[in-house]
Symmetry: C2
Subunit: 131 residues, 2 copies
Amino acid sequence: MKVNTKIRYGLRTIIQLAQADDNSGILQKQIAQTQHISNKYLDSIIPILKAKGLIRNIHGKKSGYILTRPAEEITVFDVYSAFEHKVCILDCLYQTGICDMEPVCIARDFWNDLNSVIDSKMKNTKISDLI
Amino acid sequence: MKVNTKIRYGLRTIIQLAQADDNSGILQKQIAQTQHISNKYLDSIIPILKAKGLIRNIHGKKSGYILTRPAEEITVFDVYSAFEHKVCILDCLYQTGICDMEPVCIARDFWNDLNSVIDSKMKNTKISDLI
DNA sequence: ATTTACACTATCAATTAGATAGGATTGATT
DNA sequence: AATCAATCCTATCTAATTGATAGTGTAAAT
């Protein structure tokens, strides 16, 4: 039950951009320095956020990254799902045939509930709620 | 963000014992068969539940395992914490000095909230609620 | 005394996490 | 057009963790 580094760094990146005044972008290098993340490692995170349409690059004098939409319109789940398709604390929740017990598993019902709780928390929290 | 096998199997074991009529115990072997878990693997799970005082062995004619207390008095968290000390989705939540950003990390505040949500769900769900 | 169940220790293969390396490409500034 | 910094892509590596099995020892019941 750990949140992995990419998701954590991804969220921190989005938060940093959300906190910036929106006239200028923030360079990857700056994010690396502020967040104490290696610039190389960010190489594997930033492109994902970009591909999912959460951030984009502006060019010119004030070059760097900005959010593509206001922080009010981005949820934690948007960031999470850039890296993992779904909130899924147990494989059997979304795949059939993994476990023989599935149709009768009471434990699974609980894990499914817990999964929903986590999912909802992420979907109901906007980046703007955090800052 | 996965729940590991020991915790899952541990919960299933507790549920099976909770469902049994309380006159007789259930042998480890029976649990293995019912739950489709190898008896050998249960060797590394059952003793932990026992050490934590959740189950105990009865001897004699109806030998096997039983719950030490009624299902109303056991929470999912009791089972979870037999295997992992705390609900902790991020190391920095309970350890200082792991991350430089800790004092100023807004993301951490969110993860901390999410952690509480998970923790509460487990602590507020009794085994008797599941069956 | 023998059988059955449980306990203890060690080991192992597979997977994943976290991170780095090196180079190609892109775009802005000169 | 040249140069320089930033970004992107692919490959690689180590360490830790997970899930599981093997083998043996011990205890209790019939």
